[in-house]
């Protein structure tokens, strides 16, 4: 399986995502500079965390207009897997590939911790190896993770089972309905504030993020047949 990790000026979790895919998952991964717009040779795309463009204007707002996002949009339309982590989630919201918006954490501080999440929907390419309702520990590190959407959108997210992860204990940012991660209606685009790539070895504090990547791999093998 061929992964791409997009790199914008100010991305800083790109190396962690690459490490998780290459050294832990053992799959092929390429760092793709934001000026590339052709992503056709990749099976999955990771938009990593960080501070693309220094968070100037709004988090993710400038990166959303990078050439590489054309490739991401095309990949999403073709049903390829796209995951936006932290700043990557913010970028997906800014491009409209996922609904809603991000606000500053309600306590107005940056928060780095390892909260407990509940897997709300395991019938997606990203979560098929988790159990529904499974409690997992995945680190967060953000200033703007307070996800918000209007009531109509929220009802729709619930109806379509697009809420994939919720904070199970304390909500660390004030997000609506304790949302930690959502997907699109087609289930092939996931955005989440927690960092699964930071939870792939026990010594990191948790290895619960690994199943997200192995789920993606399993889905791809089953659907596109690893020749």
């Amino acid at each position: 399986m061929r992964f791409a990790v997009t790199v914008f000026p100010g991305s800083n979790c790109d190396i962690d995502a690459i490490h998780a895919i290459k050294d832990v998952l053992g799959e092929s991964v390429t760092a793709v500079w934001h000026k590339e717009s052709d992503l056709s040779k990749y099976d999955a795309i990771i938009l990593p965390g960080g501070f693309s463009y220094g968070d100037y204007l709004r988090t993710g707002a400038l990166a959303a207009h990078s050439p590489v996002m054309e490739g991401v949009r095309e990949a999403a339309e073709k049903g390829k897997l796209v995951i936006g982590i932290c700043n990557g989630f913010q970028i997906l919201l800014e491009t409209g590939l996922l609904p809603g918006a991000m606000r500053k954490n309600d306590h107005l501080q940056f928060r780095c911790s390892i909260p407990t999440l509940r897997v709300e929907n395991n019938e997606t390419p990203f979560t098929l190896q988790y159990r529904e309702g499974e409690l997992i520990q995945i680190p967060i590190a953000h200033m703007e993770g307070n996800y918000y959407c209007d009531e109509v959108t929220l009802a729709e997210l619930k109806r379509n089972k697009q809420i994939i992860f919720r904070y199970a204990g304390e909500n660390p940012n004030g997000s609506i309905d304790d949302i930690a991660g959502i997907c699109n209606r087609n289930r092939n685009v996931l955005g989440m504030m927690p960092h699964p790539e930071r939870a792939v070895c026990d010594w990191m504090g948790s290895s619960d993020g690994m199943k997200l990547f192995t789920s993606m791999l399993q889905y791809w093998k089953e659907n596109y047949g690893a020749a």
Partner: protein, 756 residues
């Protein structure tokens, strides 16, 4: 071909004669005799630009004029040292063709008046020092001192300093993995903000801040130059007073996004081997970087200031040279390599400009609008800075303290009440409020997160890891600078040993008051003696650091506070050890001896509201023995947890290990001391270990061989309670949940006083 040009003065600037006659150099912090030296070096009167350049280069911050003589006492060499003091950061070999690069630096004065930007740019500066060595920065630490949180001003400073550090480190993507925070009225008007950066370097990528090769281009990379931070270095070399607020423009504004781009661009240039020399434009900006590079390379330099990227119109040479705008780097490359450098800068969206070239005549020449505006023998800026050895005097308080007996002040306190007070003291309590604002997991190499004795990061591609810690107890140093200096080094080393590491070396940040006061200079000299002695005994050379003097407000000096940033090497990841108790049934051992030592202790401060007497004494041989015992025991695989006994003594160490491990402990000990004295004494060279039952004898035998006292204290239990018996009497019996709550809530409560 070039005619000898005369050095010009700009029309709106004071003339050389006026500078002399009205002693205007004094406004820039230069003394009369220093001005005299400048005139002799130049053989004429300096113009305004030249006076400005000398004033920053000869400021305490850049020249170490009051400290140079004493700093020579530090041992700086060792078999693993690849680069000692004198470059951006120290470099120590860690095998596998890798080296660790680290340095600590203060940003106290800027943070006192503009805490967010002051602290943020402190972080930015220290990161540049590390990557200018060719190293990839992998971790940040800090050491902070504030007044008491009951003051709204202090809460403001604390909140914004932490937010500033978080902003910079989080955005640039380097984990802030450790540090310390202490609150004491001694720092009320003059907080300390010391930031440390650790990097990893491949040996053959080591860079130096040097200019060589006549005709080679000097390239400016990064943010453009503005009027911010002019005379920051001079400002940092004065006492703070009411007028300091007016110096707010001397504080720079940081842009971590720009620094991230600069970092990645410089790493690419290092990888491609493009650089002959590289130096950060930090304190004293373009002046210091260019002059130091030329002086170190035994070359000269000519710069055309019209080519310097500028953010504002109408900047004068004086302003361009003295600006401390952030996120700028100065490079020297082989002639012909300019385009390659530019291509990398363009990729990262960075400005770059060739602003001059290296010359062979050791002159430092600046041109502005076609005129020569400075012409200085470059070595006089760097090597001929004045050097002072001020008078020393033993302070009265030190003599008076000799007769004070701290034990008498506290011996009647109930131990249980004492423990509850100590765990909820903001100095001892959990620092989660601070470190949860720092991204401490990015780069996915953090194996021990903040909260244990030392932070640990693994080195990818090897089985090794690095342990790191910052430490310094100003109270001890105030009460006895020599002993306090020893303790600062020893405790930082002990912290990394407890993580399973062999201490490799250290960087120090020496925060003191005004060195021109004999009592302060005595403290400074004594502390350096003590630190040097400990460095020699523990074989931890000083490979770099920073001196911050003039930490005074309204004539009142801070506690003398040398901060030690220690780095240790963990040979195998399986040796990584933390302070948390691990399993019920494990046996709790105490290595080292406990005496009645409460001078400067947290308990004394909580009971009497001040510190007095003599601090704990440190026997260097004992210290070395206890550290070696613990390291060998860890490497033998016998140790489940290790925790340094520090402020708060044995009782607090036990409580912390219980809280962290979410387990209880049952402890029973015999002593001739009053229970509260034994439990809260801060005697040095003690480490708390837990081991599984079958390993107790191994550790005891090892300790005996090394001449280290080893006492079985009790065992870890799954009852969530801490029970301590002294001479058969239960003196402390507390649920862990209650201790945890007090310990966790102390700082959040102090930060929202309305909710108390």
């Amino acid at each position: 071909m070039q005619l000898k040009q005369l050095v010009k003065s700009l029309p709106h600037e004071p003339t050389p004669e006026k500078i002399r006659d009205q002693a205007l150099y004094k406004e820039l912090g230069l003394r009369e005799e220093e001005y005299g030296h400048i005139v002799r070096h130049l053989g004429r009167l300096p113009n305004w630009t030249e006076v400005g350049i000398y004033s920053v280069m000869w400021s305490e911050h850049c020249s170490y004029k009051h400290s140079k003589a004493l700093l020579r006492k530090f041992p700086t060499q060792g078999p693993r040292v690849l680069q000692g003091p004198g470059e951006g950061a120290g470099v120590i070999d860690i095998g596998d063709h890798l080296a660790v690069v680290f340095k600590i630096e203060s940003h106290n004065h800027p943070s006192a008046i503009e805490p967010f930007q002051g602290a943020a740019t402190g972080v930015g500066g220290i990161i540049r020092d590390v990557f200018s060595m060719g190293a990839r920065p992998v971790a940040l630490l800090n050491s902070l001192r504030f007044g008491e949180l009951t003051s709204p001003r202090v809460r403001y400073l604390f909140e914004h300093v932490v937010a500033g550090i978080a902003h910079y480190g989080n955005c640039i993507g380097i984990p802030t993995v450790g540090g310390e925070v202490v609150f004491d009225p001694a720092y009320d008007g003059n907080p300390l903000v010391n930031a440390m950066c650790v990097g990893i370097l491949e040996h053959d990528k080591l860079q130096k801040g040097i200019a060589k090769g006549v005709g080679n281009p000097v390239i400016y990379v990064g943010a453009s130059t503005g009027r911010d931070g002019i005379h920051g270095a001079t400002f940092a070399s004065e006492e703070l007073n009411e007028a300091s607020e007016e110096k707010r423009p001397a504080v720079q504004v940081g842009d971590p996004f720009m620094e991230k781009l600069l970092l990645e661009a410089c790493m690419e240039m290092v990888d491609q081997g493009l650089l002959l020399g590289i130096q950060d434009m930090g304190a004293a900006g373009l002046t210091c970087s260019s002059a130091e590079m030329a002086a170190k390379g035994e070359h000269g330099m000519e710069l055309n200031l019209d080519l310097v990227p500028q953010r504002e119109k109408g900047m004068t040479p004086y302003e361009i040279m003295l600006s401390e705008s952030q996120e700028r780097m100065l490079l020297v490359v082989e002639k012909g390599m300019e385009e390659k450098v530019k291509a990398i800068c363009d990729k990262w969206g960075l400005q770059s400009a060739v602003i001059g070239h290296v010359t062979g005549d050791q002159r430092y020449r600046l041109y502005f609008q076609g005129e020569l505006v400075a012409d200085i023998p470059v070595k006089t800026l760097v090597d001929d800075a004045p050097c002072y050895a001020p008078e020393q005097k033993v302070p009265d308080y030190y003599r008076e303290n000799e007769t004070i007996c701290p034990v008498e002040q506290v011996k009647d306190v109930d131990p249980q009440e004492a423990l509850l007070q100590v765990v909820s003291s903001v100095n001892m309590a959990s620092k989660r409020w601070v470190y949860q604002q720092y991204d401490h997991m990015i780069r996915t190499s953090t194996a021990v997160r903040p909260g244990s004795d030392a932070a640990v990061i693994v080195i990818r591609g090897t089985d090794k890891a690095l342990a790191m810690s910052t430490d310094g107890n100003g109270r001890y140093v105030y009460l006895d600078p020599e002993q306090g200096g020893r303790i600062a080094v020893a405790e930082a080393a002990r912290n990394v040993v407890c993580a399973g590491a062999e201490p490799l070396g250290l960087t120090d940040c020496l925060n003191f008051g005004n060195p021109e006061k004999p009592e302060v200079y005595w403290q400074f000299a004594q502390a350096i003696e003590g630190m040097s002695a400990a460095c020699r005994e523990l074989e931890t050379p000083v490979v770099g650091g920073n001196v911050s003097l003039y930490n005074e407000t309204k004539g009142q000096a801070i506690y003398p506070t040398p901060i030690v940033g220690m780095v240790g090497l963990i040979e195998k990841r399986e040796h990584i050890t933390t302070q948390a108790f691990k399993a019920p049934g494990d046996v709790i051992l105490l290595l080292g001896e406990t005496d009645a030592e409460l001078g400067g202790s947290e308990l004394q401060y909580l009971v009497t509201g001040k510190i007095s007497g003599r601090p704990p004494r440190l026997d260097l041989e004992k210290e070395r023995n206890v550290q070696q015992t613990v390291l060998r025991a860890i490497r033998s695989g016998w140790v489940r947890s290790a925790h340094d006994l520090a402020e708060g003594g044995l009782a607090l160490a036990l409580a912390e290990s219980c809280i962290d491990g979410k387990l209880g402990a049952h402890v029973s000990l015999e002593t001739d001391l009053a229970p509260v004295v034994h439990l809260f004494s801060e005697s040095q060279s003690r480490i708390l270990l837990t081991v599984s039952k079958e390993n107790v004898d191994h550790v005891r035998t090892l300790a005996e061989e090394n001449g280290v006292a080893c006492t079985v204290l009790g065992e870890v239990t799954d009852h969530p309670e801490l029970t301590i018996q002294v001479n058969g009497q239960v003196v402390i019996h507390q649920p862990i949940a209650k201790l945890t709550q007090r310990w966790e809530e102390a700082i959040p409560c102090a930060m929202s006083p309305s909710s108390i």
